[in-house]
């Protein structure tokens, strides 16, 4: 289980490959990996976005993500979990978030992966400020709570 918040660019393929390499002992034990990779779009609500500033609450954000991962491990039969989130100044097409759930079967992998991204968006302390031609504005639309199947 790895949770990290970073201000460095995230390469999803490298991060996933590196993390899976750490699970070598358990190779053959999982049959499915579900991932979600969130990427910065260059538009939002009909407007062109030039850049995004991502703020977080150091310490609390990591704790919160850690707790989410633990909850997922209690709720579903999971081999391992990866949650990485970018902060600081980012630009269109940059990776914002990487979630990976390894499991023996695909149903828990999909469900836990979806649960993690929904709960992260609903409650993890991150805030986005968009830079567009009209200047800067804080994003205010919060994601509603998720009811897992």
């Amino acid at each position: 289980m790895k949770i990290a918040v970073t201000d460095q660019p995230l390469n999803p393929w490298k991060e996933l490959a590196n993390h899976e390499a750490l699970l070598k002992d358990q190779a053959g034990k999982w049959g499915g990996l579900a991932t979600f990779i969130g990427t910065m779009r260059d538009y939002n609500e009909g407007e062109t976005i030039d850049a995004l500033w991502l703020e977080h609450y150091p310490g609390m954000t990591e704790n919160y993500l850690q707790r989410l991962a633990h909850t997922a491990h209690q709720r579903w039969e999971i081999v391992d979990t990866l949650i990485l989130h970018r902060v600081g100044q980012i630009y269109p097409a940059d990776t914002i978030v990487i979630i990976g759930v390894w499991s023996a079967h695909r149903a828990p992998a999909f469900e836990a992966c979806r649960y993690l991204i929904e709960e992260l968006k609903h409650r993890a302390p991150f805030w986005k400020q968009e830079t567009c031609s009209q200047g800067c504005r804080w994003v205010t639309t919060n994601t509603p709570p998720y009811s897992a199947p």
Partner: protein, 77 residues
């Protein structure tokens, strides 16, 4: 007794600081901490609050050395 009060994102900009120290003479609730820290700003409707980096409600009691944080709804991911 001294506590730390943090503000994030739009709230940090609105209040004009990311952090302040508050000296209290008696234990206060989170809501009372807000009123002491921001006497001129009514409690925002969609405010989230954390005590020592855990979400709490407005009636949680703050003690010596605690870290209090106030912030708007989150928008990560």
């Amino acid at each position: 007794m001294t506590i730390t009060v943090k503000f994030f994102a739009s709230l940090r900009e609105q209040i004009g600081t990311n952090q302040l120290k508050l000296t209290l003479h008696t234990p206060l609730t989170m809501e009372q901490v807000w009123t002491s820290a921001c006497p001129n700003t009514p409690l925002p409707e969609y405010l989230l609050m954390a005590l020592n980096k855990e979400y709490v409600q407005a009636d949680a009691i703050v003690k010596e050395g605690d870290e209090v944080a106030f912030f708007p709804p989150v928008t990560g991911g």
